[in-house]
Symmetry: C2
Subunit: 87 residues, 2 copies
Amino acid sequence: MFVIMVYDAGERRNAKLLKIGRKYLHWVQNSVFEGEITEANYFKLKAEVKQRIHDTEDSVVFYTFRSTRYTNREILGKKIDPGNLIL
Amino acid sequence: MFVIMVYDAGERRNAKLLKIGRKYLHWVQNSVFEGEITEANYFKLKAEVKQRIHDTEDSVVFYTFRSTRYTNREILGKKIDPGNLIL
């Protein structure tokens, strides 16, 4: 499945989420990752994120898609390294 | 169609993008909006964003979906005001 992860956390935890995100997904933009991922790895990713964040201060949103057939991405402004992206 | 808008811009332009985002979509998290939008409004949204951003410093990513049938959202940490969201 395809996942978009967006997060808003305290500075130190942002750095930890960046590290975790890079293990499973592709960096798109500050606090935004995307990529294809297995169900097993998706659960691992969420478990690692859950361990790192502060439940009342931080927010992490996962958008998941069983198919990217109906999905499109458009970028305005700074282009992102295409080698970095899946969609 | 359903749109997720994520942006990373200079501080002053971030405030302007927040204002534009609120006109067309629902706030989800810092620099993240989502919502159902018509094609016409999607073009207006992009035109307004294009006018505001700095092409080499800022980055705005739009994920669009013709259907949310294959889409799911999960939130870890701070819950977002459910009245605010579409999915």
